[in-house]
Structure formats: C-alpha cells, structure tokens
Symmetry: C2
Subunit: 210 residues, 2 copies
C-alpha cells in the first residue's frame, strides 16, 4: 500500500499517515458500465483506443484512476467515454474528480505534459446527448453551501438545465458541453477550496422515458 | 421541482432556499448496473420483488432514491441488490447514503414504520462475495479526517480488509457484512456530524482478476 492514499485522512495510526502533496495533482477515479453482455470488449476496446500518455493510470477490479494535471485528466476520461460510446448501448460512467486530499502523495502522477490533450481530436468529433447527475463536496469549510451555489449558476449559464433532486443535481446536454462544465467546476474548486470531490454519473442511451 | 433538494445549499437565490429538516430522514440515491443485455428485466424484476413499503421512493432515468428511517432505507437497498443478483451476471450498484443536508425538506419521506425491515427474510438467506469501494464525506467540519479514520478502524474490526486507494477505500466481504458495515458507518456519522454523505460502489461477479 506504499503509494496509495485515502481521501481525507492523515492520522498517525493509519497507513496514509504523514502524507499530503503541494504538487498540482488532480485525479479522477471512474468506472464504466456498458449494460450489454459484450461489456468486456467495449471497455477494453475503449481503454485501448484512448491515449493515456498524459496521465498516470491504474486499474483494479472496481475502477480506474487517472492522475496528473487537470486538463489532461479530463481529456483522458472524456476520450475514454467517447471511445466507449456506441449508438445502441445503454452505458453509464460513474466517477469522482478530486484534488487536495490531505492524505495525498507526491507520487503516482505525471505532471510534465504540455500542449493540447492527446484525445482532443477524438473528442472534437463526438456529439451525443448525455444525462448527468453530480454532487460536489468542498471539504473542511463551513461555507460549503455557498461554493455549491456558485457551480449551480455555472450550469445555468452553460445552458445545461440544472435541476435539483435529493442528494444531487441533474444536468443534461451534449457530451462536450457536459465535460466542459465538469472541467470548469474542478477549475473553480481548485481556486477556491483546499480540497474538493466532484462525484458524477453520466448516462447515454437510457431506455427510461421521463 | 417543489419537493426536491440539492445536497448542501440554502442560498436564498436558489430553488431549494429556506429548506432544512429536523426530522429523522436518511436517504439513499442509487443506480443498478447489470452488465448484461437483459439489464431491463433484471432491474425491473428486482424492483418488483423488493418491498419498498417502509420507505418513500422515486425513480428517474438516472437513479432511484429511497428516503425514511435509516434501518428501512438500508433494508430496501440491500433487498433490491440481493433480488437483482444473479450467479453469472457482473453487476454494480453505485449509491450514496446521506443525512443532514441543510437544503433537505420535511417531505418526501416515510417515518412511521416500526418493526423489522420488510426485506429482512430475503436478505437473511443471501450470501455472496462483494467487492466495494467507498468514500465518506463529513461536511462542514474541519476535523473530517478524524471522522474518516474512525470508520476505517470499524472496517478492520469487521474483518472487511480495508485498503486505501486514491480517493477511496476498498473493502470486501459477504454481502450482509458489507451492508452491515455501510449501515454502521451511517449510524456512526449521524451521531457525530451534522451532515454526511457516504458514496459506495458494490461489484459482484467481476471478470477482472487481481
């Protein structure tokens, strides 16, 4: 467990004691769920098509994590989602963007990349509608409700039709607009709070009518 | 949107302004992802088999939410998961337990139930191994890292083999032990912090070897 961290804990009696980083490391842990019996080739094919050279990456049986500078983390996750999308397959992507965990470490990251994201061209050609729910957690601050209010207004301004449901906010829009918004929320958070987590679920081709 | 709330916001310029509840309302918003082309009958069949008479329930295209007293919310979610489980289908359940949102409302809940959970008998007969990742967010308190440390030790004591990964903790065990732990974390949180969210993902029958 040498290089691992758990969100938000630095007690001396725990395996992630004494950690924390001042480096510019954002991360996203995510899982892709194609509701299809061919889910293995869909997931593996998407992972293979996605250029992850600009992030540090690790997969386990439950999820994959990308770590590095925020624009490249978003590029890799969005690239993967676009590469996994198929016109007739209902699919969900569940994930969490985060930065600033007091238990984080300097390692397991890639911070030297410059220039455009390696999946930018793939992403630029992709357009399909996405349903999204999200929940934002600015940690360790008593005025977290004001921080959440700010990003609600950002969703309105972006034309993503935010609606409030119990425990989450829903938005919807084109895949690029939704990822641009998630990216903007992360940028805003890293500028205003020491530690945040943004949980999100994206859904495409849902058979459920509303 | 009259009866809805968004986690953690009570600003007067937003649709959930002036809310908040002192009632004993816990909730769980969750999504079930059977990685199978027959996902619709699996999900609908599980929803139908599950007794949700002890909670308030609402579904949309992205997820379902159960609200009520904590033991009955856990009973309903665990009952649903057990009813959806099939021996050869890889399936994930993504969800978030929560209580204490300052934007919550007195409505959309059921608080009059007494006695054992209506799915207790179904659950008692179910045993299968579950992989789980979780992330706990005690909100609005500066010492949140200490709260997270406490539940790490609870997982050790429960024999669930906690390991720390970036942005989450992993545990594994029998389905009943995992839900008992999630339930115990929620109980502990409601006694120690004004507002918490516990995100979790359960996975069964994963083809990924580790």
């Amino acid at each position: 467990m040498e290089n691992n961290t758990c969100c938000g804990c630095s007690r001396p009696d725990l395996p992630w004691a004494g950690r924390g980083t001042n480096l510019d490391i954002s991360g996203c842990r995510f899982s892709l769920y194609p509701m299809d019996s061919n889910f293995v080739p869909i997931i593996l094919g998407a992972l293979e098509k996605t250029d992850t050279s600009a992030v540090w990456s690790q997969s386990d049986a439950l999820s994959t994590v990308y770590r590095g500078r925020l624009p490249y983390v978003v590029d890799a996750v969005e690239g993967l989602f676009v590469n996994a999308w198929q016109p007739t397959v209902h699919m969900a992507l569940e994930g969490q963007f985060s930065k600033g965990c007091p238990g984080d470490t300097d390692g397991d990251s890639l911070l030297t990349r410059e220039g455009p994201g390696p999946n930018a061209q793939t992403i630029a050609g992709a357009h399909f509608p996405v349903l999204c729910k999200l929940a934002l957690y600015p940690m360790g601050v008593s005025d977290y409700i004001d921080r959440i209010a700010e990003v609600w207004h950002m969703a309105e301004d972006a034309g993503l039709n935010p609606t409030s449901v119990h425990y989450a906010t829903r938005i919807n829009g084109d895949v690029q607009a939704v990822f641009d918004y998630l990216h903007a929320v992360c940028r805003h958070m890293e500028q205003t709070v020491p530690h945040y987590i943004l949980h999100f679920t994206l859904s495409v081709n849902s058979p459920t009518a509303e």
